[in-house]
Symmetry: C2
């Protein structure tokens, strides 16, 4: 088994945080996204036809791509401590929050990145500055919603326990604040307090976000 990864990029970082929270040690091979080694015909033919990282290579030579799918794979093999919940209600609630982060925060952050950054020219064809601005507003609105929700939750995104939803939120917010230049507004007190608290976890200390360029 081998994890093909680029540890400081936001999607691979999710898996590294997850594995650290679980205490799992998985052999890794770094694929240099800066020189687009994940977009070579060889990589796409052998590892992931869509070229994304991370990708988990299994012992039978097959591959599982997509950060959350890789975490889900390990969750089945190593259920403790649960990061996707245990009861039906917990699993449903964590999935709800994971989707809210993925679809309402991570996607619009990605849109600001691909439409608004000088580093991503060509990724989506023509960059649309208006799309970047519109998505920046969607992210800010989603941050306010997270802030209000955290005021009523048990201290974590999906309730009273750290979960995959916190990992998705943290990696997204750190990426947004760093490379995408969408800082956390200091007025969002609950969200800032959560961010500070979660950032002190050993897993996060071991796997910091990419430094801003």
């Amino acid at each position: 088994m081998k994890l093909h990864t680029y540890p400081t990029a936001p999607n691979p970082r999710r898996v590294h945080l997850y594995l650290a929270e679980k205490g799992l040690d998985v052999p890794c091979e770094t694929v240099d996204i800066m020189t687009r080694q994940n977009r070579t015909p060889e990589f796409m033919a052998k590892r992931n036809p869509l070229g994304g990282l991370p990708v988990l290579e299994l012992d039978d030579g097959s591959h599982i791509a997509e950060s959350v799918a890789i975490c889900r794979y390990f969750e089945v093999l190593h259920p403790e401590p649960p990061l996707f919940g245990t009861s039906a209600e917990e699993q449903g609630r964590i999935e709800m929050w994971s989707r809210r982060i993925e679809l309402n925060v991570a996607r619009p952050v990605g849109m600001v990145w691909v439409h608004g950054s000088p580093f991503t020219k060509g990724v989506v064809g023509k960059q649309l500055p208006e799309a970047a601005e519109q998505n920046r507003g969607i992210v800010k609105s989603a941050y306010r919603f997270l802030d209000e929700s955290l005021a009523q939750s048990g201290g974590f995104i999906a309730g009273d326990a750290f979960s995959i939803a916190d990992i998705l939120a943290l990696t997204t917010i750190d990426f947004a604040a760093g490379l995408v230049e969408i800082p956390l507004d200091p007025e969002l007190r609950e969200l800032n307090a959560w961010h500070e608290r979660v950032s002190k976890r050993p897993s996060v200390q071991q796997h910091p976000a990419a430094a801003p360029r």
Copy 2:
């Protein structure tokens, strides 16, 4: 327990297909999205602060929103027949394909819808026709990828068994072909054959997509 829903809309339809595949009967209450009953202050305060459908109301008065989260809740309570896989590898592979459909197909279809339809004026503020066109291209490219992948799979999106990934793909493709006016290109033979095959399932016959306007 009660499912707040609007059965022919693409996200609620996922849950209705899922429940039919499982043979589960859940009390339903229709919320009229045409008159925006899911966006009233009452609905948002009581059911889902984001106003989306479907929402599952549990017996303790709490709610789970997000189509796939609701399915996941039922999967824990009623694991047979499995629609999220059983082994770690199956669960990981189905999650991978569910994410590919959600992020690379359903999202761009949604973008074409909100930026390009006369029915969605105001949903995202200013409509950006260039964003609609760009996303139309992304959808077409994702359809080609699905077509190529189906040629190598066991007949379903995530392998040799019908799964939640097929439900996500079918509801998205039907919505795209109907209201969003992105038809399936007849040249995509594998994808069309899959669509025809899956559409014959009793669950799909019971829960058809909305008719085009």
